[in-house]
């Protein structure tokens, strides 16, 4: 509870020194005992007893029968799944609090200048109200891999396709009757050569005629074109069958946009694109060259980023955490900012400091105590992160995203059935927050003495 202790300890709202107050009722110990009894009993049974039990249980093996000493604590580093959890929790503690505090600081400073800051703060703070489960579902939806489902990939693919051409016929390939053979890297090259005056035939298959993108018209046979090499690219298949293989039959679809290249000794000497009726014309230079369909015709469409795959899953979940908690940091820092002496900032400006220098040299140092409180609060919170990881990380990559609190549950209840290891993880979590506990107690005792 460092946050309110730390801030409440300031001169603005001191905790009253309890030690000097006297009861107005006189001393009647049994009344006090009655008022305290429910709380003491419940705290003892539900909070204090579990700590002791966990310490004892962590020294025993999986089913609690054999004493293993500190063996379970050693497993934190030797057990693969648990060590992944240790590493990921370290990443969380190192990255998430700093990221969230940074966002909160930027938002708090910038909103000072706008009139609708309250509306902005409401929007940013809103995620604090909802459960981590709801936030998890929200972000699972954001990170859906299919660009037609997840907004993150929809944006990524949209941006990507604006700058990079994508292929229209990812599944098409030359029919076996044609003499185009796979020539590595997804391209196809003819075994024979082109000759002027003889139209080249490029029959492709692999797409259903009713699923051709853009629904093009029927293909027409290319006319011989003087010195150049003409040809047709079409879908050599029609619904209901019929038609001769390798020949442009009535009712067979053109495949406009397919790129063809003429290649001599491995060098592209000419290239063209099939038109709306499937025909193309290469210049005279193509005479005697091999015909090649470059791989760009058949490249699989760009499907965006695998957000929840093994490599990005932890950063992606940290992103959703930042979405939830930036409002917390912002509101605390804004409260601190409201207490900053404006004259100091104005003095710096008068002295010629620009806004960045004022921020960096005056505002941030003045806010340092608040920033530390926010950072520590978030660190404690992040150590115990569970729900977001549990919900957002899909089964296949959940092991990669594992964190201590999740591993505790998995090890003890989720099939691991190793309550010894689970208890050890619980004790480690307690030890990690122990410094804050000590600071809280010290602060309390200092206030008493005042």
């Amino acid at each position: 509870m460092s946050s309110q202790l730390a801030t409440a300890g300031g001169p603005a709202n001191p905790v009253p020194p309890a030690g000097k107050r006297k009861s107005v009722m006189g001393t009647r110990p049994w009344v006090a005992a009655l008022f305290l009894l429910p709380a003491i009993v419940l705290l003892g049974a539900l909070v204090v007893y579990p700590i002791g039990y966990s310490v004892w249980r962590s020294l025993y093996d999986a089913d609690g029968s054999g004493f293993v000493g500190l063996g379970n604590y050693g497993d934190l580093f030797s057990d693969d799944a648990t060590f992944t959890a240790v590493k990921n929790t370290a990443i969380w503690v190192a990255v998430a609090p700093a990221l969230v505090t940074g966002l909160g600081l930027v938002f708090a400073v910038l909103t000072e200048r706008v009139r609708w800051s309250t509306a902005f703060k409401l929007v940013i703070f809103m995620p604090m109200a909802i459960s981590m489960l709801a936030a998890g579902i929200i972000f699972r939806l954001v990170y859906e891999a299919d660009p037609d489902q997840g907004v993150a990939n929809a944006v990524v693919v949209g941006v990507h396709d604006t700058f990079a051409e994508s292929s229209v016929y990812p599944k098409a390939r030359p029919s076996t009757e044609s003499d185009l053979k796979a020539s590595g890297g997804g391209a196809f090259t003819s075994t024979g050569t082109l000759s002027a005056g003889t139209p080249a035939l490029v029959p492709l298959v692999g797409i259903a005629p009713n699923k051709v993108p853009g629904d093009p018209g029927d293909a027409t046979s290319a006319e011989p074109s003087g010195d150049g090499v003409s040809g047709t690219v079409w879908l050599d298949f029609k619904l209901g069958g019929g038609g001769e293989k390798g020949a442009v039959d009535a009712g067979e679809k053109a495949l406009p946009g397919i790129k063809v290249e003429a290649v001599k000794d491995g060098k592209v000497v000419a290239s063209a694109k099939a038109g709306d009726d499937g025909t193309f014309t290469l210049p005279a230079a193509a005479d005697g060259a091999q015909l090649r369909l470059p791989e760009s015709n058949f490249a699989a469409p760009y499907n965006g980023v695998d957000w929840l795959g093994p490599s990005l899953v932890t950063p992606a979940i940290i992103g959703s955490y930042a979405w939830m908690w930036a409002g917390f940091a912002m509101v605390l820092i804004a409260a601190g900012l409201a207490g900053v002496d404006r004259n100091l900032l104005e003095a710096a400006r008068v002295d010629g400091a620009n806004e960045w220098q004022v921020f960096r040299r005056v505002t941030v140092p003045l806010l340092a105590p608040v920033l530390v409180v926010v950072l520590i609060t978030l660190m404690i919170n992040v150590m115990k992160i569970f729900d977001l990881v549990f919900i957002i990380a899909p089964q296949p990559s959940q092991d990669e995203a594992n964190v201590l609190a999740l591993q505790l549950v998995n090890a003890s209840f989720g099939g691991g059935n190793n309550q010894g290891l689970g208890s050890a993880i619980g004790i480690v979590l307690l030890l990690l927050v122990m410094p804050v506990m000590i600071v809280n107690i010290r602060r309390l005792r200092k206030e008493r003495r005042r």
């Binding site: 509870m1 946050s3 009253p16 309890a18 107050r21 419940l42 809103m126 907004v151």
Partner: protein
Amino acid sequence: MTTSSVPLKGPGEPGEPGSPAQPSAAVDAAGPPERSLASKLAGFFAGGAVRVFLVVVALLWVTPTVGLLASSFRDPTDIAASGWWEVFSKPSQLTTESYSTLLGKEEITDALWNTVLITVPATVLVVVIGAMAGYAFAWMDFKGRDWWFVAVVALLVVPIQIALIPLADLFGDLGIFGSVLGVVLFHVGFGLPFAIFLLRNFFAEIPRELLEAARLDGAGETRLFATVILPLGGPAIASLGIFQFLWVWNDMLVALIFSDSGSRPLTVALTEQTRQFSGNIETLAPGAFISMVIPLAVFFAFQRQFVSGVMAGAVK
């Protein structure tokens, strides 16, 4: 009387329109008159950039929630065929079908009812027991009072994870593992340290004359507690109540382990649908939204108490 344990009062708090902006506005108005035109222009454009940036950030922040909301109002075929953003170009896709399907499922309505059955007692018990103990710590004399209070403060940051295994064993022995009672007890145990701490600090600031006056009127401890302490402690009790209510309502971890198929709350019922995420959006989106409605309503209705409650209890 102030809520000493709540760091946020007045400035910086949503719900106090414009208060954080006022000091800087005042400074700007009284700014140095010798500012050059160039610096004024630079300031104007920088201000514009800040506004644009903040608008973009705000949009970025609401988009995920809007996506969930939009998805919850589309039918399964549309969800499978295209992204939720299509509802803006085709509003005819909007339908409440997912909600009626979801609320027609007994397992979901039961889970929603369980959420209430868990949340209400867990909140009331924490407030009542916490207030009694807080009053004792603030206004009664007994041996070792300060030491007991130090012990309570020490328990503030104990992670709930540490109690999962011990209490699962204990509740198993008592025969309440898997019941609503077990989940409630867990939340009461871990809600109390914060409740006692918050309320003791608040009660201690109640002017002693008020208590003495009531005492002279012949009020006993119980009447004093009920007629003076509780009414005057209203603001702190409201903050605590809201925080504890939301904490329990939003909890998934405790219920995941301590409830069974008959006592599980909405969060746990939804969790089981997340295994097959893409195929279950028509269940998950409205389900998540239903679980969000109460917290959001509380948020918008009680911004002040909400913010102070959440802020004070954040370390939990």
